[in-house]
């Protein structure tokens, strides 16, 4: 965190989004910007529709590599803990790596 992210701004941003459109926040500015743009974003949203093959593969690659981990975290967070502030992308990434390498992750 430490980016001056306040609970209020995060809550507003999260109530503006629902299920499918996952915002990505680097900083508090991102969140403000997101709120400003949220209407346009929503009209462009097609995520929940059946995907064409290429985007399906691309999505699988992103998910498998962990490229979209933050977006999934934000979505999950918005759904389950709408009252609390999510971690910023950088903090989430650090936390996640620390967590991952605290256990047995690789075999012989």
């Amino acid at each position: 965190m430490g980016t001056g992210l306040t609970e209020r701004s995060a809550n507003e941003s999260l109530s503006a989004v629902n299920d499918s459109s996952f915002p990505v926040f680097e900083t508090a500015e991102d969140i403000d910007q997101y709120i400003a743009q949220s209407d346009t974003l929503r009209t462009n949203e097609t995520c929940i529709e059946p995907l064409p093959l290429l985007s399906y593969i691309w999505r699988a690659i992103r998910e498998l590599s962990g490229d979209d981990a933050y977006e999934r975290y934000i979505a999950q967070h918005a759904a389950n803990y709408p009252d609390t502030t999510p971690l910023a992308r950088k903090d989430f990434f650090l936390y996640q790596q620390q967590q991952k390498w605290s256990g047995i992750q690789r075999c012989c």
């Binding site: 680097e26 929940i48 699988a60 690659i61 992103r62 998910e63 498998l64 590599s65 962990g66 490229d67 981990a69 933050y70 999934r72 975290y73 999950q76 967070h77 389950n80 992308r89 950088k90 989430f92 990434f93 650090l94 936390y95 996640q96 790596q97 620390q98 967590q99 991952k100 390498w101 605290s102 256990g103 047995i104 992750q105 690789r106 075999c107 012989c108």
Partner: protein, 690 residues
């Protein structure tokens, strides 16, 4: 009706094709045999086992329940418990279980000929390894993703828990040492390999910085950058090789390289994970998956011929790479790829926390292991497409065949595997190496095998590049296992030390981090050091020790599973785990017995120690050998003690499991099943399923 008839016909066809391929492999005694037979036999065996055996276990024994909510659903926190698409979980699980083991073991075991290794990989996997992985994954899922050690403690008692924990720690140490040795043997006196492997470290750090500060969390961008740099590093190594003045900087014998690996291991264990370990793992995972797919395509396309005979005379125990008869040593040498206890740690780690539905357990647990077994089959193909003479020249240590090239080829040719100095020199030159003699450990011969398969598929001009690509590819994920293993060892040690003095258990307290990392690195560093100075090649000592300990961990996992099966009133099905368990008990106990008591100096640890001690006392050794003899003698005795310790752990937990089972069957109190109670799944969202 029509469909089921078609299905029956298809499965009959698969069964016939599989038996024909297996029969062809087993009965062929001609000059050579096409590698496609191996692929066909393997795919048919996996398909039949998956469709019938795994399905039967899932529906009749484990009673997998798709309506039951998984831990990922119940405890979903968006961090470690996350319901995930099954293909993604499969990818994660496979990337976690498939390490260098299935590549090295089969290559070493090829000294017995192609047949014993191939049959053990196929049947060991479908009857043992796949069952172990699947059952452990299932029981861990039913227990909120608890680890093997915790399950052993909950279901059997404190003894089981302690045995699982200590065995894991020891295996980790032996495993890291032997993998370090494989890397050192691949790098010694090879400026190309050494500089390429060295370059992977700053590349990983660069990627780490990119993902941490420049573009946080952009894993794909960072990895793409890293992969490009790695390929450039392979090419750059070739340039360094031809620069007098620069090449000497990377041209070292084994011992200094071992010290560098040890120092590196310590640094990696105390550096933050984002800087080195995590980015290196991304790179190694892509390299691993990419190379395995490439190798598979190249084998199918090129259909290389297997030149190794089905059996060699070394089934009698006189093999140059490691001593010991076919039984039990082929089963010890090939652990990963057939049955690997380590998988039980993964199957009771992250994977159960990602499963969105229990019905995916068959595909991820059983299927994941089948795929790893297939990787082992490809490794055995890559090793046996070489001329046997070349295979033995690369893999036989100097202590066995002699230091001089002429002595080595004379000795190997006298075994009936003709090879010439000119042939080896030409091969070394093609691969861009000064020499390929005595590079025990599996990595170089696998790299030569892969290079010749890739070379014939994609052009001969690139042989040296392919060879060093293969070396880099193996080194990068061996180093990942080394980093990750040291860290895990450190956490386990801190956990234990915390019982003695609280602050030592704090994973973020720096003095404790330094101390515990130092102890773990010193432990594996010791075995690596001895392995490098041992003129007979430390692989002969370390690999069997690793195999025995890994199989014993598998036996522990199967004990836990058997205990749970019996306590769940499924005694009549308990054979699915007891069958592989009994086999593991037989092979590990008899291998350990031989390693301790054999009078053959190449097999028995104590015999070797006594032999060396006698020679030392009577002044028969050359001064340089006499200087290291006391260390070697001590090490052989230590190895005997370690082996005894492993077997004691095994029998301890077997008796503990039997005690719990017998008490349960007699209606006496036992630790209750720790399964989490049923909760209906509320998750049928389309995106979670495929």
């Amino acid at each position: 009706m029509k469909n089921s008839l078609a299905a029956i016909l298809v499965w009959i066809a698969v069964a016939l094709l599989g038996s024909a391929a297996l029969g062809g492999i087993a009965l062929n005694r001609g000059e050579s045999i096409n590698a496609l037979w191996f692929i066909t036999a393997a795919l048919c065996v996996y398909a039949i086992a998956y469709r019938f055996y795994a399905t039967w276990i899932a529906t009749n024994v484990l009673l997998i329940d798709p309506t039951r909510a998984t831990p990922a659903e119940r405890l979903d926190n968006g961090r470690d418990y996350i319901p995930t698409n099954r293909w993604i979980v499969f990818g994660h699980h496979f990337a976690a279980i498939a390490g260098p083991g299935p590549l090295v073991g089969p290559t070493l075991a090829a000294q017995f000929g192609y047949l014993p290794g191939t049959l053990w990989i196929l049947f060991g996997a479908v009857l043992g390894g796949c069952v172990q992985d699947m059952v452990t994954l299932f029981y861990s899922t039913r227990r909120n993703g608890r680890s093997l050690g915790q399950m052993a403690r909950d279901e059997l008692g404190a003894i089981g828990g302690i045995a699982a924990l200590t065995t894991t720690l020891f295996i980790m140490i032996i495993l890291i040492a032997v993998l370090g040795l494989v890397v050192v043997n691949a790098m010694k006196h090879s400026p190309w390999a050494t500089s390429t492997v060295a370059a992977t470290i700053p590349i990983a750090m660069l990627v780490g910085l990119y993902m941490r500060t420049i573009r946080p969390g952009r894993v794909l961008e960072g990895s793409l950058l890293g992969v490009i740099l790695l390929l450039l590093a392979v090419a750059g190594g070739g340039w360094i090789e031809h620069q007098p003045g620069l090449r000497e900087f990377f041209d070292h014998p084994g011992l200094p390289l071992a010290w560098v690996v040890i120092a590196y291991g310590f640094a990696a264990a105390i550096l933050p994970v984002w800087l080195l370990l995590a980015p290196r793992d991304y790179l190694s995972t892509y390299m691993k998956l990419g190379t395995i797919i490439l190798l598979m395509l190249a084998i199918v396309w090129m259909q290389p011929s297997i030149k190794m005979p089905a059996f060699t005379q070394f089934v009698d125990g006189t093999g140059p790479i490691f001593g010991g008869k076919l039984f039990p040593f082929v089963f010890i040498t090939i652990a990963c790829g057939a049955i690997s206890g380590f998988h039980a740690l993964i199957a009771s780690g992250t994977t159960p926390k990602l499963l969105s539905n229990e019905r995916d357990i068959r595909m991820i647990g059983f299927g994941g292991m089948a795929l790893e077994s297939f990787v082992a089959i490809m490794a055995i193909i890559a090793a046996t497409v070489l001329d046997p003479g070349v295979f033995f020249a690369i893999n036989s240590p100097a202590g066995i065949v002699g230091k001089e090239a002429a002595d080595a080829v004379a000795k190997i040719s006298s075994w009936g595997f003709p090879v010439t100095v000119a042939q080896m020199n030409l091969l070394a030159q093609q691969m861009g190496e000064a020499t390929l003699f005595a590079r025990t450990g599996g990595a170089p011969s696998l790299a030569v095998g892969m290079a010749s398969i890739f070379g014939s598929a994609f052009g001969q001009g690139m042989l040296a590049m392919w060879y060093h690509f293969a070396i880099m590819f193996e080194a990068i994920f061996i180093l990942t296992t080394l980093d990750a293993g040291t860290r895990v060892g450190r956490f386990m040690l801190q956990d234990m030390l915390g019982n003695i003095w609280k602050p030592l258990g704090r994973t973020s307290w720096y003095p404790s981090v330094l101390l515990s990392s130092g102890i773990i690195v010193a432990a594996w560093g010791y075995f690596l050091y001895i392995g490098v100075i041992d003129p007979n090649g430390g692989v002969n000592i370390l690999w069997p020790l690793f195999g025995i300990s890994n199989q014993i961990l598998a036996a522990i996992a199967l004990c836990v599973a058997t205990g749970i099966l019996v306590k769940s009133d499924k005694l009549k099905y308990a054979w699915i785990t007891t069958l592989p368990l009994v086999w593991l008990i037989i092979i590990t106990s008899s291998a350990a017995w031989e390693k301790i008591t054999s009078t053959d100096v190449r097999i028995g640890f104590l015999a070797a120690a006594n032999d060396l001690a006698t020679k030392l006392a009577s002044g028969l050794l050359s001064p340089e050998k006499a200087a290291i003899a006391p260390q070697l003698i001590f090490n052989q005795r230590l190895d005997a003690v370690l082996t005894l310790f492993f077997v004691c752990m095994l029998w301890l937990i077997v008796f503990d499991m039997l005690r719990v089972c017998i008490r349960y069957l007699n209606g006496k109190p036992v630790p209750p099943l720790s399964e989490v109670s049923y909760q209906l799944t509320g998750m049928e969202k389309a995106w979670v399923r495929d």
